[in-house]
């Protein structure tokens, strides 16, 4: 069935794609959205075994389950307080004003973005260098090191709170956004290293050797040959790092003690008071918090699917 899809006229695999990509849902959708919609095209659409009701049905059902909560969030965010309308007939931006200016989401957003991008950069750099070492060099204790990396995943962040706080205080980093970047990087790095070393191991060493023969140094060979091939891996690792740091509540609340240093998750929990809840503000805050993550996924999901499946094959 896959060959059938690829031989379709006008739907050639994208030129210059580094590796043959497994077919994804998005690819399918892209085909269906081609502007030319002849009868032949629609007949093919209905004949395609992927478009049968038994495939579409469960997918629609699944989408309902995932999208209805999002719909509720949007309805609550845009309808006025006290309204119980299921369809937002009268829209208001009142809740967005409450969270953006009243609660200071503008500042929180900026902080979250800074911490997220910095974490992404630091994690990617360390994961690249560490992952390369793990994949390409055989050294004593390598297996033990990998096991230790896995074991760190079992320690919950809350348990490390006081020791970390102590360390950051010694380093004068309490109330400094760098503390979040460092803590977040530390927690993200083990998984990123494991993923990245898997990706790198999948790139044949022959390629690098060919570059060395051409006169490249090891570092230059890595930059010229391996790095371009690692684009999906970088996207996967980078987006995990960004989203992980974007969503982290505990560290942001504990290591920051200044209203202007908090991040979006802290701002979100403001809307849940001790005795009262501002549902409108909660939903509007939820929208503000979700939009960047959804956007990141929309942009990178193509690479993400490739990246994950490529990294999963261990050589």
């Amino acid at each position: 069935m896959s060959s059938d899809l690829h031989s379709e006229p006008g739907v050639s695999p994208q030129a210059g794609a580094p590796t043959p990509r497994p077919e994804t849902e998005s690819e399918d959708r892209r085909h269906s959205l081609r502007p030319r919609r002849s009868r032949r095209r629609s007949r093919r659409w209905s004949l395609n075994p992927r478009n049968r009701p038994e495939v579409i049905g469960p997918l629609v059902l699944y989408l309902l389950f995932t999208l209805v909560p999002f719909y509720w969030m949007l309805v609550f965010a845009f309808r006025p307080t006290g309204s119980t309308a299921i369809l937002p007939t009268h829209l208001t931006l009142e809740h967005f004003r409450t969270v953006w200016t009243g609660l200071g989401f503008g500042v929180f957003f900026r902080n979250s973005l800074l911490v997220g991008v910095a974490t992404l950069v630091v994690v990617s750099v360390f994961a690249l260098s560490g992952g390369y070492a793990l994949a390409r060099y055989g050294f004593r204790g390598r297996k033990l090191f990998l096991l230790a990396l896995l074991c760190t995943q079992f320690i919950p962040g809350a348990m490390m709170l006081i020791p970390l706080f102590e360390i950051f205080r010694q380093l004068h980093l309490v109330n400094n956004l760098w503390a979040l970047v460092i803590a977040e990087t530390t927690f993200q790095l083990p998984l990123s290293l494991i993923l990245m070393s898997g990706f790198i191991r999948n790139i044949p060493i022959d390629l690098e050797e060919a570059a060395w023969v051409d006169g490249c140094s090891r570092f230059r060979g890595f930059l010229a040959i391996v790095l371009p091939l690692l684009r999906p891996a970088l996207v996967a690792v980078g987006s995990f790092a960004f989203i992980g740091s974007w969503n982290n509540f505990l560290f942001a609340l504990m290591f920051m003690s200044d209203q202007s240093k908090f991040t979006i998750p802290v701002g979100l929990s403001y809307t849940l008071g001790e005795f009262d809840v501002d549902f409108g503000a909660l939903a509007a805050g939820g929208v503000v918090a979700a939009v960047p993550v959804v956007l990141v996924f929309a942009v990178v999901q193509r690479y993400l699917v490739t990246g994950l499946s490529a990294g999963a094959v261990k050589g």
Binding site: G102, V121, I225, P228, L253, G273, E274, D276, D278
Partner: protein, 457 residues
């Protein structure tokens, strides 16, 4: 993969000759890292020290949010105008995490100068020796005669030395929120006794129309509400008898648990077994519930959702003995941290906020019971029916206050994590009310005995 190899090497060789391609990621990466570094470093400076003789104190609000943050900021601006040499740095902490934030700050250092706290976690802070006793300062400022006695009493009972570690700003009370319109349609009066309560909620239920007389808090926070209902029903005036045995499994208390459990699914929605206060308040605001047991805290939510003409509140009914017994809610207030280097400035802030004007503004906005007795004459209080009636019930000399044992370190764990799931079992019919109450009482008696041993010997 094999087929791709030559293509890639070819491509890279060309770029290699240009000598640009592989330098770019490095340069770009370094630039991004440096740029974010500068941006973050720009945010890193700490402005806690102030020059030109001005002092900066840090204040942690224990319930930061869309309603309270602007209110505090307004009051802080007033304070800074009155005390131009003190700058207050406001930090709002989300209510759900404030205890953890305080505990971390106490354990690792980094407490603020002033903090908001309620008596539900005040005991823990006192036990960690994190707070400054305020008795002397309170009496010097002449505030001791102006604080609602039962609030001060609740605060003193939290610590084993009986000192005042918190200056109360507002109190709260468990009430029955009810729908005025539904009661008048059914020609009913708001329930004054428990018998009336049970008949009213049954009359106001019409499951066919998705209309229920009552909603039970079955999820988080259920046990404290249940305790206030139990003691309000039984009229028992203490959590422990003279021998230190818990009164929780007294037959009258067990009877109330049975009666409440019997309402489940009959006069309440089925989903109630998982109800926390947010779901309960949302259901009531949605219009399908006639009576809801919560506290004054949801006042703004209820009025916003239903309109002031449709909703009102009464204190919990009087006991079967005819006495009104109240289990006080945690009292909200301000504390000074021992580690503060600017205790005088911190105290000035608290003293300012405890005055009549500020306390009145505060409680008028949040809809709670003012802790300064001078505020009780204010006109807004007479117009705010729920708060007025709650204050009346607290002030009534006939009312008996049953203090919950917040001083027991285990109290929070027992009521919040251990008994919650068991109460859900009672609602679902897999555990009897008697078994539930017996387990509860045993835990409380054990905790009390341990405490007496520790304090007494």
């Amino acid at each position: 993969m094999k087929f791709n190899q030559p293509k890639h090497i070819e491509g890279i060789t060309i770029m290699d000759r240009r000598g640009r391609h592989f330098r770019r990621p490095l340069v770009l990466g370094t630039a991004v890292a440096l740029a974010s570094g500068f941006l973050l470093a720009g945010c890193g400076s700490d402005g806690s020290s102030a020059g030109d003789g001005k002092q900066t104190i840090t204040f942690w609000d224990n319930n930061g949010g869309p309603d309270r943050t602007p209110l505090w900021k307004g009051l802080i601006a007033d304070f800074q105008t009155a005390n131009p040499n003190i700058i207050v740095k406001y930090v709002g902490i989300p209510a759900a995490s404030v205890q953890q934030k305080y505990d971390t700050a106490v354990a690792a250092g980094g407490t603020p100068d002033v903090g908001g706290a309620t008596t539900s976690y005040l005991g823990g802070l006192v036990a960690q020796k994190a707070l400054e006793p305020l008795d002397e300062r309170v009496s010097q400022a002449g505030l001791d005669t102006k604080l609602v006695p039962s609030f001060a009493d609740t605060i003193r009972k939290v610590s084993s030395d009986g000192k005042l570690y918190e200056v109360p700003t507002s109190g709260n009370l468990d009430v029955l929120w009810y729908r005025k319109d539904l009661f008048s349609q059914a020609s009913l009066q708001p329930p004054a006794t428990w018998t009336e309560f049970f008949t009213d909620v049954s009359k106001l239920t019409d499951a066919q129309k998705n209309q229920y007389g009552f909603t039970i808090r079955g999820g988080p926070g259920a046990i404290f509400q249940l305790l206030t209902e139990m003691y309000s029903y039984s009229g028992i005036t203490s959590f422990f008898d003279s021998s230190g045995k818990s009164t929780i499994n007294d037959p009258k208390n067990v009877e109330l648990i049975q009666k409440i459990a019997a309402l489940y699914k009959k006069d309440t929605p089925t989903a109630d077994v998982n109800n926390d206060f947010t779901k309960m308040v949302a259901q009531f605001g949605g219009g399908s519930i006639a009576v809801m047991h919560h506290n004054l805290g949801s006042s703004a939510n209820n009025v916003k959702a239903l309109g002031a003409d449709k909703v009102a509140a009464v204190p919990l009914p009087v006991a079967v003995t005819g006495v009104r017994t109240i289990v006080p809610n945690p009292v909200d207030g301000l504390v000074v941290f021992k580690a503060s280097k600017q205790k005088d400035a911190a105290w000035k802030f608290i003293e300012f906020m405890a005055q009549k004007t500020q306390n009145s503004i505060w409680n008028k906005t949040v809809g709670q019971i003012p802790a300064n007795t001078d505020v009780s004459g204010e006109s807004w209080l007479q117009e705010k029916q729920p708060v007025r009636d709650a204050l009346k019930a607290i002030d009534d000399p006939a009312t008996v206050t049953v203090q919950a044992p917040y001083y027991l370190p285990e109290f929070s764990a027992i009521t919040k994590t251990e008994m919650g799931p068991l109460f859900q079992k009672v609602l679902l019919g897999t555990l009897t009310a008697q078994q539930f109450a017996d387990t509860f009482a045993t835990k409380m008696t054990d905790a009390q005995q341990k405490y007496t041993k520790r304090v007494g010997g």
